[in-house]
């Protein structure tokens, strides 16, 4: 899909954001909050927690805008990384709490729902979903493990019972394929 960021030059947006311009923030939020929320939801699998996290994430983005260095990477990627790291950190913190590990059946059903991609996508993305369905399942699985669950290569190799070298090769192949899909 063509992203709307082309409507506003990223450098102008960043300049307005660093001036703490409310309109710029609203634009940023409207543009990116569904994607960030989707990613967070994909990681923590809990609406309420994801909403709280999303709020924290935007506060973090807002406070750390001065630290963003356009020469090191894209703004959306930077935001995505903040969102992903926050969500993965939060998930890990919860896992260490024993009470959080006990889930009711109802919750499990909800989690299973999420895991098997039964979320309601925005209708405009359906076409893209089809494109992604072309992605080989084992590659998609690896991207999801590493990107959304924050698995290291070693952890992913162990989880999938694959040699480390295969994991590395497959990650590269998956991303190259993804790259081609969005060209």
């Amino acid at each position: 899909m063509k992203r709307q960021s082309s409507l506003v030059s990223e450098s102008v947006l960043i300049e307005k954001l660093t001036q703490r311009d409310q309109q710029a923030f609203q634009w940023l939020y409207d543009q990116y909050s569904p994607a960030l929320y989707g990613v967070v939801l994909r990681i923590v699998r809990d609406d309420e927690q994801a909403a709280d996290l999303l709020q924290d994430i935007f506060v973090k983005i807002w406070k750390n805008l001065d630290a963003y260095d356009a020469s090191k990477g894209r703004l959306f990627t930077w935001m995505l990384n903040i969102a992903r790291n926050s969500a993965i950190d939060s998930l890990r913190a919860r896992k260490t709490q024993p009470s959080a590990a006990i889930r009711t059946d109802e919750e499990n059903v909800h989690i299973v729902d999420r895991q098997y991609n039964t979320e309601q996508p925005n209708p405009e993305f359906i076409g893209i979903q089809e494109v992604v369905s072309q992605l080989r399942p084992e590659r998609k699985q690896l991207i999801d493990l590493v990107y959304f669950s924050g698995y290291t290569h070693e952890e992913a190799a162990e989880k999938l019972n694959l040699p480390l070298g295969t994991v590395k090769t497959r990650i590269r192949a998956a991303l190259q394929e993804l790259k081609q899909l969005f060209k």
Binding site: Q22, G38, L41, N122, V146, I171, L175, L178
Partner: protein
């Protein structure tokens, strides 16, 4: 390094997935800043992941945006920054002015003090120079006084010696102002003169004293017309007998026979 190989190594994919160590991350960032090809590949991979993330978009609850709009601080930073500056100026003004005044007065004081020191130094130098001159003058005067004193003592000693005769010689018509005293000690046979006033002579001439023995003149030594600057001139001749003393003008060093035409004064001893 081989960039193509580096790109194909899979490290960039791991980097954009956030699955690299801190060291690897720094390495990739460093290389991407050097090699545009690496930077381009990273951007493409990141964009692919961005698009992948976009696929998972879910509209968040509206409450999140409302909370954020309340929680975050917005504003026109330029105006916010300007206001405190405008307000701070007057509060900072007096402090600044006071500091400036204090600094300026300190500087002025220092300047005045240095002028004072400089003038003191000059005065002292002048005083010192004046004192030195005065000291030199005093020393000179002192030396003269000491010389005078020693001469006076010699004169006094001469005059106190027993057997001293004093013969006053008056100038004749050739030297009407001529006035001198001859001191003759009849025991030691020493002769000295005290010239009060005699006409000054050319450099090649000198006065010569003669003692008259049996009517004949005998050389009694030469002297100059010191006219009071020297108290007494001792003459380097001894006079054993004398009936009278006479003074003539002779060539410097004296002559064996008096030039009678230049006789200035003649006075008998037993006047």
């Amino acid at each position: 390094m081989n960039i193509t190989e580096y790109i194909a190594s899979g490290i960039l994919e791991s980097y954009v997935m956030g699955a690299v160590s801190d060291q690897e991350r720094r390495e990739v960032e460093c290389l991407s800043s050097i090699y545009p090809e690496i930077r381009q590949e990273i951007d493409q991979l990141a964009e692919a992941l961005e698009n992948y993330a976009l696929l998972h978009s879910v509209e968040p609850p509206a409450s999140v945006k409302d909370k954020l709009l309340k929680e975050l601080e917005f504003g026109q930073p330029k105006e916010i920054e300007r206001e405190p500056i405008i307000r701070e100026l007057p509060t900072n003004g007096p402090t600044y002015r006071v500091t400036w005044i204090v600094a300026a007065s300190m500087g002025l004081l220092l300047l005045l003090f240095s002028f004072y020191l400089l003038s003191e130094l000059r005065t002292n130098q002048k005083t010192l120079a004046a004192t030195r001159t005065a000291n030199d003058a005093l020393q000179l005067e002192m030396r003269q006084i000491r010389d005078n004193q020693s001469r006076t003592e010699q004169t006094l000693a001469l005059l106190r010696q027993p057997g001293l005769r004093t013969i006053e010689l008056r100038g004749n018509e050739k030297a009407p102002q001529g006035d001198m005293i001859v001191f003759w000690n009849t025991q030691t046979h020493q002769v000295a003169v005290d010239v009060r006033s005699l006409p000054s002579l050319p450099a090649d001439k000198q006065y010569q004293l003669w003692s008259m023995v049996d009517g004949k003149p005998v050389d009694a030594g030469v002297f100059d017309a010191t006219n009071g600057t020297e108290l007494i001139q001792r003459l380097n001749r001894t006079v054993t007998r004398a009936e009278a003393f006479a003074v003539t003008v002779e060539k410097r060093g004296g002559s064996p026979i008096p030039t009678t035409s230049t006789l200035l004064a003649l006075s008998p001893v037993n006047a």
